[in-house]
């Protein structure tokens, strides 16, 4: 028993210690900014203002717009990434000729940095010199150039397209790894029962990989919500602030306003939203088992 306690302790200690010291400690040191007037222009005049930054955020129509956009952005990106990723993983499960190379090209997008994806897609989406408009015109699909990044009708869609292009690979990789660990006996048993492939999928495969599905969708939703880099690179929240999500708005407050107080307050609000979302998600999916949360 004592042995076991030692094992638990020595197994957990490195991870726990590092995360506490290098993630939580600096975070709690920094959190105080949300309750201060903390502007880069005037660092010698940093002082506490209570909840003013939070009040200001909720009064700001830009914030409310970004809040709405965040939901839309996460929902669409997540559903599309997951669906395409799951289908891809299922199709790639069985060995086929050149699967290794196929995997290389199918998954590389995941290995690009958000900043590069933003740059590449901004260039391709450009309505005058971009290749997407050029191709659509060439194939006769459209007759007039589309302002993918300048038309408020399209700008958010374009961001989501780039994000889906980037993120399908994540689900495919994770789900493929999970699929490959499904014990073949389970399939054999199902085959003996004469189950059709659709039923096999629903009754054997999906339940087996459900923990991975829940964990990946949950995490991915959080990352999509938190990562401003694609929007920052593609539209930078424009036109007229119509494509800001909370994380890009936070970045905007820092880069263009130097207002760390306002940005931190948005950061904290984002955290609260994510916590609520996580609790909700785990309750709905009845997934206490996944993480024993």
């Amino acid at each position: 028993m004592k042995n076991q306690r030692m094992f638990i302790l020595s197994g957990l200690l490195p991870a726990l210690l590092l995360v506490l010291v290098f993630t939580y400690y600096p975070f709690f040191k920094g959190i105080v900014m949300a309750f201060q007037e903390y502007k880069l222009f005037d660092l010698r005049n940093v002082h506490f203002v209570g909840l003013d930054n939070f009040k200001a955020a909720f009064k700001d129509p830009k914030f409310l717009m970004a809040l709405k956009n965040s939901g839309y952005w996460v929902f669409c990106s997540l559903i599309l990434q997951f669906t395409f990723g799951l289908i891809l993983a299922l199709m790639m499960k069985k060995q086929f000729k050149g699967r290794g190379i196929y995997q290389g090209f199918a998954f590389y997008s995941w290995a690009l940095s958000g900043f590069l994806i933003g740059m590449i897609w901004k260039w391709m989406f450009n309505s005058q010199i971009g290749v997407i408009n050029d191709l659509l015109l060439k194939f006769g699909i459209i007759h007039e150039r589309i302002g993918f990044l300048s038309d408020p009708k399209w700008a958010m869609v374009s961001n989501i397209v780039a994000n889906v292009w980037y993120g399908v690979a994540f689900f495919a990789i994770m789900l493929l790894a999970a699929l490959q660990s499904v014990p073949s006996e389970l399939y054999e048993a199902a085959e003996m029962d004469g189950a059709a492939s659709w039923r096999k999928l629903m009754n054997v495969t999906l339940p087996y990989i459900m923990p991975t599905i829940i964990a990946t969708t949950l995490l991915r939703a959080i990352w999509i919500f938190n990562d401003p880099s694609i929007i920052y690179g593609l539209t930078n929240g424009g036109p007229a602030g119509s494509t800001h999500i909370l994380s890009s708005l936070m970045l905007d407050k820092i880069i263009y306003g130097g207002d760390y107080g306002a940005a931190s307050a948005i950061g904290i609000i984002m955290m609260v939203i994510l916590l609520l979302y996580t609790i909700f998600f785990l309750t709905v999916t009845k997934a206490e088992k996944v993480g024993d949360f």
Partner: protein, 275 residues
């Protein structure tokens, strides 16, 4: 009949996806082969009139690209290894044992994913400064490791949970200690999960820009993303250099994904034989 329909769907899905994935890559590659004057010529050229390696030669001439690539490899691989070691241990413990504080620890790991990173940046910079780790590759290895511990733990824990506990119990009855049961029996079975966690960690490290800009001053210690970010200038983006750099930075990841394929399958079959 149904079988044929299915394989046709499969074929078209895989092909269409491949085309969509490859096109941006194709566009970067041919851009990197175009002379400066042709990159933004209108109408667009889908195949360059003249092919040149100038952009590639240039990035090695104007900056120390080989050094940046070396740094990125060193840092990304080291941090990914360290994460794996630490996370395998914590994930195993969290998967196999129940104890007081279990729930809180999982929650603490999970919650890190929600923290807005920039809030911690200034305090973190001060910490690195006090530890004399600024301008030192160790600072990046350390922070990349820390950043990936929670996710890797959560992910690996999922993989551990799918392996029946009877596997190492049998080994322990045979006289193995828990440590050696973990190393000898469980890890080989887990290789697919470990491989994907490693790839994931590597890729994150390979791309990380923000901390790398902050913590590193010396040109000889810079990483690839920082070097590529330098091609964005005040009034211009050097697309020739940018695309050449992008191609070079994508090649290793494509190779890793292609290679890991074999690795995952190999690990699986071995695990099955032993089981």
């Amino acid at each position: 009949m149904k079988q044929r329909l299915l394989s046709m769907f499969k074929f078209s899905y895989l092909s269409l996806y491949l085309i969509i994935m490859i096109f941006p890559l194709y566009w970067i590659v041919i851009t990197s082969l175009k002379p400066q004057k042709d990159i933004f010529s209108f109408p667009l050229k889908y195949w360059p009139d003249t092919i040149t390696m100038d952009n590639y030669v240039n990035i090695f001439k104007i900056s120390k690209f080989h050094i940046y690539i070396g740094n990125s490899f060193l840092i990304a691989i080291t941090a990914a290894f360290v994460v794996l070691i630490i996370a395998i241990l914590s994930a195993y413990v969290l998967a196999r044992f129940s104890f007081r504080g279990h729930r809180q620890i999982m929650l603490a790991f999970f919650a890190t994913q929600m923290l807005p990173g920039f809030i911690a940046l200034a305090p973190l910079y001060l910490m690195m400064s006090n530890m004399h780790l600024l301008n030192n590759r160790i600072s990046l290895v350390l922070m990349y490791t820390v950043g990936l511990i929670p996710f890797s733990t959560i992910m690996l824990r999922g993989f551990f949970q799918r392996i029946p506990g009877s596997l190492e119990e049998a080994a322990m009855i045979d006289g193995c200690s828990r440590w050696s049961a973990l190393i000898r029996i469980i890890i080989p079975v887990m290789l697919p999960g470990i491989a994907s966690t490693f790839i994931f960690a590597f890729v994150q490290n390979w791309n990380e820009l923000f901390l790398a800009v902050m913590f590193i001053d010396n040109d000889a210690l810079k990483t690839l993303p920082v070097a590529m970010n330098s091609f964005i200038m005040k009034f211009d983006v050097d697309w020739g250099a940018m695309s050449a750099g992008a191609v070079l930075s994508i090649i290793p990841t494509i190779l890793i994904f292609a290679f890991a394929q074999r690795f995952i399958v190999e690990g699986l079959t071995q695990g099955a034989e032993k089981g």
